[in-house]
């Protein structure tokens, strides 16, 4: 899935000018007609009750809206932050997004990250076709491709919890851009997760990665904070960790996975989030039953089409100096001698037909909270 999103405008007027490509339905344009709506949702210091009351004053009890897009804006509950350098949105967890642990699944989290990224792009006027490309990128037939996705969840939200996700992006190297996210529980204000992703530019005709000139970059970088801002500022953090390739023979596998219709996005590619589900398919059940996913890192290598058949492989990640702890005949690697509750795994998704690597991954698991 080749969606991407951009950052906020340091100069809102410039963003509005670029909005003309997105058409008149852009949230930014409707916000100009309803300044009250903009104010209540771009201020991040309103308590939920205050936000609710200001919303109520506008909505009354009649859900039919005459203003284009304004109800969508209210329900989307998202907007650029005051400095214009990031985007925040609130989401309520729905019942069907909750899994066997009574909490939101990692796929739900990943979907919401993708959603807020797309809404951010929309809010600064980039395309709605799922590619989130700037006008110049479209002229040059350039699209964004995910290279790496890294998500850490410290506390999974439950049904009807409200979370707030903040996102922004920054330049990374000659051809790359990074998008970061921070997830918070609205009720408590605590950070419940962080994520970062790396994107590269690809020519959609040649399907080859492409370096871009500075003025192409400037067009979207104008919305990004210039001062480096990292969701993972700590040194040697796990989002940078190299993922080794899992070699045969592997310990766990689930073969013959096929994309379902529901896995295809609006551009007929297998959605990025589907790969997360496939990676987890070969996880041993004894871990799934007793542990929850703390960290997942995926390197995307090759995109998947509707008719591909995929094998999912999993094996313990062997860390230097770690002990191998045998339980019931299976070996799992423990990170620290005193921490028998953490497990780390390496993953590989490859085509069943010729073994070509689709992506590789790494996960860390912690014991479920009682």
């Amino acid at each position: 899935m080749l969606k991407f999103s951009y950052c906020n405008a340091t100069d809102l007027n410039q963003a509005l000018v670029q909005c003309r490509f997105a058409g008149s339905f852009g949230p930014l344009s409707s916000r100009r007609r309803s300044p009250r709506a903009a104010v209540s949702f771009s201020r991040s210091n309103l308590t939920p009750i205050q936000a609710v009351l200001s919303c109520q004053q506008q909505v009354g009890s009649d859900p039919v809206e005459s203003e284009l897009g304004s109800l969508a804006d209210r329900l989307r509950l998202g907007g650029l932050t005051e400095d214009g350098l990031s985007y925040k949105e609130k989401f309520i967890i729905r019942c069907y997004e909750v899994g066997i642990n009574k909490t939101a699944t990692i796929e739900t989290i990943a979907n919401l990250l993708q959603e807020v990224g797309g809404n951010h792009a929309q809010s600064v006027g980039f395309s709605r076709d799922g590619f989130a490309t700037s006008p110049t990128m479209r002229k040059l037939h350039l699209i964004w491709v995910t290279a790496r996705m890294h998500i850490e969840v410290y506390k999974y939200p439950a049904w009807s919890d409200v979370i707030e996700i903040e996102t922004w992006c920054q330049n990374e190297g000659r051809i790359g851009t990074r998008r970061d996210w921070i997830l918070k529980d609205v009720a408590t204000g605590e950070v419940i997760g962080r994520a970062t992703s790396k994107w590269v530019m690809m020519n959609e005709d040649t399907r080859r990665l492409q370096k871009v000139s500075d003025d192409v970059k400037e067009e979207y970088l104008v919305f990004c904070p210039r001062e480096p801002r990292l969701a993972f500022p700590e040194e040697n953090n796990k989002s940078l960790k190299k993922i080794s390739k899992l070699e045969d023979p592997v310990q766990y596998s689930r073969l013959g996975l096929m994309p379902r219709r529901a896995d295809l996005d609006m551009n007929q590619h297998v959605n990025n989030v589907t790969y997360i589900g496939w990676v987890l398919e070969s996880m041993p059940e004894e871990i799934i039953d007793t542990h929850e996913l703390q960290t997942i890192t995926l390197d995307y290598r090759r995109e998947c089409q509707r008719d591909d058949v995929v094998d999912s492989l999993t094996g313990p990640e062997l860390v230097e100096g770690s002990k191998i702890h045998g339980t019931n005949g299976s070996a799992t690697a423990i990170t620290r001698e005193d921490d028998l509750d953490c497990h780390q795994f390496l993953h590989l998704l490859r085509l069943s037909s010729d073994g070509q690597e689709i992506n590789r991954g790494r996960t860390e698991w912690r014991k479920k909270p009682t």
Binding site: K3, F25, P48, I49, A51, V52, L53, C55, Q56, S61, D62, P63, V64, E65, L68, G69, L71, A72, R74, L75, R76, L77, K90, F91, I92, R94, C95, Y96, V98, G99, I100, N101, K102, T105, E107, N111, Q114, E115, G118, N119, R128, G130, W159, S160, V162, G256, R260, R261, A262, L264, D265, M266, Q268, N271, V273, G277, L280, E281, I288
Partner: protein
């Protein structure tokens, strides 16, 4: 025989409700800032808005039928909870609890006039009515929040089952006393499609897809497959030419059996054309040993066909 088949139930509804540790209502939940929904119409209709998210859009550029069904499921649960029909998180009223009774869905009918697209906001209204002497009917009406245009209508039938004996139960008078005040007793939102659903087999089905297995994310808290996933599986064996040129306009489903993590399913489809642009298909979802999980019938119209008729323009402020 039919009743016996239904008694091997798939507790889809019960399982959904069992995962609820229902929280007491917070004051801010009475208003609807995050699309939680609210009771309208003298407490009989529950209304909730949904903004269509980008990942709910399918290959057709519109919200998928699974997205539509997910919204229906969410509003049903929220209605039951907020209207006080949900006492213990099991969907059972106090009298039902005393008698070990739970609700199970047996039949579902959905008619889609238009699928919403990314960024649309839909308003879902839901209410319950009596159905015969012993069943309950839950109806939904989905509209475009902005225009009031009717997008989808759906209707489901629920029966009571004793969760210990697994036998269907007539509605006890005590239970009727509890739930009757919540019945709208309106006309069904969809005229019932009473044509029998045929049972397909290997020779009558032109299209078969085998080896369908649930993924972790298909399972609810009790490790049973969510109802809505069955619909995706039914469509897995629908022929690609139909999927590419037509869109699902209506479906009728009969739920027979639940399935879990280790189930391996087969999806069978037979196509019958009736001489017009519309196509009709019969479906069967079954386990490898032949036991039926679900029967269905779907109707398809060419994409971008105009919807004629007078169902469209009910103003949004009347139920």
């Amino acid at each position: 025989m039919l009743l016996a088949a239904i008694t091997t139930v798939f507790l889809a509804a019960e399982k959904q409700w069992m995962m609820l540790d229902w929280k007491p209502k917070r004051p801010d939940m009475l208003i609807d800032p995050f699309g939680i929904g609210k009771i309208v119409q003298d407490g009989l209709v529950f209304r909730q808005n949904f903004s269509i998210r980008s990942y709910e859009i399918g290959a057709d550029q519109t919200a998928s039928i699974e997205t539509v069904m997910n919204h229906l499921q969410e509003t049903a649960l929220n209605h039951v909870g907020s209207a006080g029909l949900l006492v213990d998180g099991f969907g059972s009223t106090p009298e039902m609890c005393k008698k070990n009774l739970i609700w199970v869905v047996t039949r579902m009918q959905v008619v889609v006039d238009r699928y919403p697209t990314w960024g649309n906001v839909v308003q879902v209204d839901t209410w319950v009515s009596a159905s015969g002497k012993n069943c309950m009917r839950r109806d939904w009406l989905v509209r475009d929040s902005k225009t009031g245009e009717v997008l989808t209508r759906a209707s489901s039938i629920w029966v009571m089952m004793n969760k210990v004996t697994r036998r269907l139960s007539k509605m006890p008078e005590e239970v009727r006393g509890e739930i009757e005040p919540y019945f709208m007793n309106s006309e069904p939102v969809i005229a019932e499609d009473s044509r029998k659903l045929v049972k397909l087999n290997g020779s009558s089905a032109e299209f078969v897809r085998k080896g369908l297995t649930p993924r972790w994310s298909d399972l609810d808290v009790n490790q049973h497959v969510n109802n809505v996933k069955y619909i995706g599986w039914i469509l897995e064996s629908a022929p690609l030419p139909i999927l590419e040129t037509h869109e699902l306009s209506s479906m009728t489903l009969e739920y027979r059996r639940e399935c879990g993590r280790d189930s391996v399913l087969q999806s069978l489809t037979a196509v019958s054309e009736n001489g017009t642009d519309e196509i009709e298909c019969q479906h069967l979802l079954r386990l490898e040993d032949g036991s039926e999980v679900m029967r269905g019938r779907t109707q398809w119209r060419p994409k971008n066909a105009k919807i004629s008729g007078n169902v469209g323009q009910i103003p949004a402020d009347t139920a």
